[in-house]
């Protein structure tokens, strides 16, 4: 009987060891609707297009585009608290927002087409001027992201290039966009110093070469899986694409494979209607600017083995 038990334990252990990689391979991130932010007391969100999650603090900052302001919230233990309005004269039409490890807030203003830097307290500090970049005066940022070391990655569509600056906004290097691309709309830094570009027109992702001098296609045409992806976020080895017209989030693995959709088009909580930007919060929550629903939705990301 004891022998039988030992043998059974051995079999279970071996199966577990052998099965682990397979389970990891099949693991899928499920989105469980958690909280929605409407800010009704502050006049209600109006077409929010940007969200930023702090990697250090428990803050979420929202670009409340239609109201020309930012909203800051504390998000802890699945609860949204401390709603604060940030309104500065230099920001009239915020469309994207990011935060660095110091809590500084960076905002892309659609009207001015400039990146505004605010202190952690929301005070205007200046513009990201990309000092030292060739033809810095003509930069038109379409999108930007803050890397793990607080470097700023800027998609300059007028210059057809990606500009990388240090945390102070001083030019470091630049890369030309791929010439055969349709229209690049967003970018994200990924692991190993790589940069991934999103081509919305062709529904293709591009990745920077190991020497970091050029981009090559990372995926084929993803159109069969999504309608019109416009935003890209990288977190924990997964690429999240905001499918604006499809009203969902598409997941892409670091091997370029499609991992499925999360959420879907609709008005009820848990559904999205022309989402704009997404970030992944440090406790593993997906925060999505649900633009046409005039709200921000927070989903708990649950990793499951299928």
């Amino acid at each position: 009987m004891r022998k039988m038990h030992r043998r059974l334990i051995k079999i279970v252990l071996i199966a577990a060891v052998l099965g682990l990689p397979a389970a990891a391979f099949c693991a899928g991130s499920q989105f469980i609707p958690d909280t929605s932010i409407y800010s009704v007391d502050k006049g209600g969100l109006n077409k929010p297009e940007g969200v930023a999650c702090s990697s250090v603090y428990e803050d979420i900052v929202v670009a409340d585009t239609g109201n020309g302001r930012l909203m800051r919230y504390t998000f802890k233990g699945g609860e949204v608290k401390d709603e604060t309005e940030i309104k500065v004269s230099q920001i009239t039409y915020p469309i994207e927002v990011q935060m660095n490890s110091q809590g500084e807030i960076f905002v892309l203003d659609g009207q001015q087409k400039k990146i505004v830097r605010l202190s952690a307290k929301g005070k205007f500090e200046g513009y990201v001027d990309m000092a030292g970049a060739p033809d810095a005066g003509s930069v038109i940022p379409k999108s930007f992201k803050i890397g793990s070391n607080d470097d700023i990655y800027i998609l300059d569509i007028f210059g057809a290039r990606v500009i990388i600056t240090d945390p102070a906004g001083k030019f470091q290097k630049q890369f030309d966009l791929p010439k055969d691309a349709g229209f690049i709309t967003d970018l994200t830094p990924a692991t190993g110093g790589k940069i991934i570009l999103l081509d919305s027109a062709k529904a293709v992702l591009y990745i920077s070469s190991p020497d970091g001098t050029s981009f090559s296609p990372f995926t084929g045409n993803l159109r069969e899986f999504m309608d019109f992806p416009t935003g890209i976020t990288f977190s924990n080895g997964l690429i999240y694409l905001v499918d604006k017209n499809g009203g969902s989030i598409a997941l892409i693995g670091m091997d370029g494979s499609f991992h499925g959709h999360r959420s879907g088009l609709g008005w009820d909580e848990g559904l999205l209607y022309f989402p704009a930007q997404m970030c992944v919060e440090s406790d593993g929550y997906a925060v999505i600017a649900d633009r046409e629903n005039n709200r921000v939705q927070i989903f708990r990301i649950v990793n499951t083995a299928s």
Binding site: V40, Y93, G110, T185, F228, E292
Partner: protein, 447 residues
């Protein structure tokens, strides 16, 4: 010298004998086969014609398919007893033709003619005989105009004609496939054009303001099928080009880089279209391609175009280059939205910039000044109301005071039920059947 001549004659005779022997062998084998199948003499054709008498008349035409002339054999294409294909054909039409004509589409073709690709050879050719060369169904350009009807109309009505068009499409186009160029062209542009038009012609040099045109793409400005503009320029010409003021946008003709633009993107266009660009940039949302390195020429042709506003292509096609999902949605939609169907995207959207999401046009609203920013529901309802009398269409309350019961931060408007570019449901409804749509909000009636 004499020895070489004898040697050559010897090889010629040897070749002739070999050819005759092989021909004889083939005939004997065929006859042996015919006798094996107990076929009557002339069973492969003449017997067929004894019933298919109309075919006998047809074969008197000037141009007869070689399968019916050399040896006269209907069974090259037809199975006389049974077949899985129509007209007792031995195979499907496309495959059948390619068994004898395998090289009609050149290897690594840069463009192929759709009917050839699809094996629909009989759209142009009669498989038996006609009075037209290559036993074509119709003579000359008429065979092409069977499908290319718009080209026929265009060629007939234009004021300035291009000589080769009237004298045969095949002057410039390969009818089956082209190994060297798109659009089935016999040569790439400009080589094709330069075959007739010499760039050292003083008049041509003058017309091009003495810019070096050796590598220019002629069809960017000229309509090869003729036009209503002198010089067969496309019907809509950019005024600086019409005035031969190339150096307004390009560097001078004596520059080492004469075609280099004087500024990048929209900044070049802003030199003349100052107010327009100022107006565009003054709005909250600019259509992003306009701000790219290519700028305005993402959508507009800077020289000449057959399209109004110098658009590069018809609007639906042009917008669909990036917004393919939207066009596809309309294509599969059960109910079509007229402006989308007709490619009138600008009926609702401003292609340059707008203060509203989706680059929506500002509709005129009674008693509200045109420069006032409208609340979203008012904007949408009034925009749709430009074509649809929604008050007759529905008595459902809509507008900025009517909260959507599904979401306290949204208001009820046309878009609450309809998706303007179409859905898989009738009336472009988000949900179907209609009860499912209504009970989205009126949950108390859900069953």
């Amino acid at each position: 010298m004499k020895g070489e001549g004898i040697k050559l004659r010897f090889f010629k005779v040897l070749f002739l004998i070999t050819f005759m022997v092989l021909g004889l062998a083939w005939a004997v084998t065929a006859q042996a086969d015919d006798s094996r199948f107990l076929l009557k003499p002339d069973a492969r054709m003449k017997i067929c014609l004894s019933c298919h008498t109309d075919m006998a008349d047809k074969l008197k035409s000037k141009y007869v398919h070689s399968a019916l002339t050399t040896g006269g054999d209907c069974t090259v294409c037809h199975s006389p007893h049974t077949s899985s294909h129509g007209k007792l054909l031995a195979d499907s039409v496309g495959k059948l033709c390619f068994t004898c004509h395998p090289d009609r589409i050149p290897a690594n073709a840069k463009s192929t003619h759709k009917p050839v690709n699809e094996g629909k050879c009989i759209l142009c050719h009669d498989p038996h005989a006609t009075n037209n060369p290559f036993h074509l169904l119709k003579a000359g350009n008429e065979v092409c105009f069977q499908c290319h009807k718009n080209k026929k109309e265009w060629v007939a009505k234009v004021k300035f004609k291009h000589w080769p068009v009237d004298n045969g499409c095949t002057n410039c186009h390969e009818p089956h496939g082209s190994a060297v160029s798109g659009f089935l062209l016999k040569q790439p542009v400009p080589d094709l054009c330069l075959g007739c038009h010499k760039l050292d012609d003083p008049e041509i040099m003058k017309q091009h303001d003495f810019y070096p045109m050796q590598k220019a793409k002629c069809i960017l400005c000229h309509n090869p099928h003729g036009s209503n503009q002198p010089g067969i320029l496309y019907d809509n010409v950019h005024p600086p080009m019409a005035a031969r003021m190339c150096d307004q946008c390009h560097e001078g003709k004596t520059s080492p880089t004469p075609f280099k633009l004087r500024a990048t993107g929209y900044k070049l266009c802003a030199k003349c279209h100052t107010e327009k660009v100022k107006d565009i940039m003054g709005k909250n949302r600019v259509h992003w391609p306009l701000l790219s390195k290519k700028g305005c020429i993402n959508c507009h042709s800077p020289h000449a175009s057959p399209q109004k506003y110098l658009l590069k292509a018809p609007m639906k096609q042009l917008c669909g280059q990036c917004h393919a999902d939207t066009i596809a949605r309309q294509d599969r939609s059960k109910t079509k939205h007229k402006p989308v169907l007709e490619g009138k995207c600008t009926a609702c959207h401003d292609p340059h910039s707008s203060n509203y999401a989706f680059l929506i046009n500002q509709p005129a609203v009674a008693n509200i000044p045109s420069n006032t920013k409208l609340p979203w529901a008012t904007l949408v309802v009034n925009l749709c109301g430009q074509c649809h009398n929604w008050q007759q269409h529905s008595t459902h309350p809509v507008g900025d005071k009517v909260v959507d019961l599904r979401n306290k931060n949204t208001r009820v408007m046309c878009l609450s039920c309809h998706r303007v570019h179409g859905t898989d449901n009738k009336y472009m409804l988000h949900f179907w059947p209609i009860t499912n749509m209504c009970t989205q909000c009126h949950k108390e009636f859900q069953r």
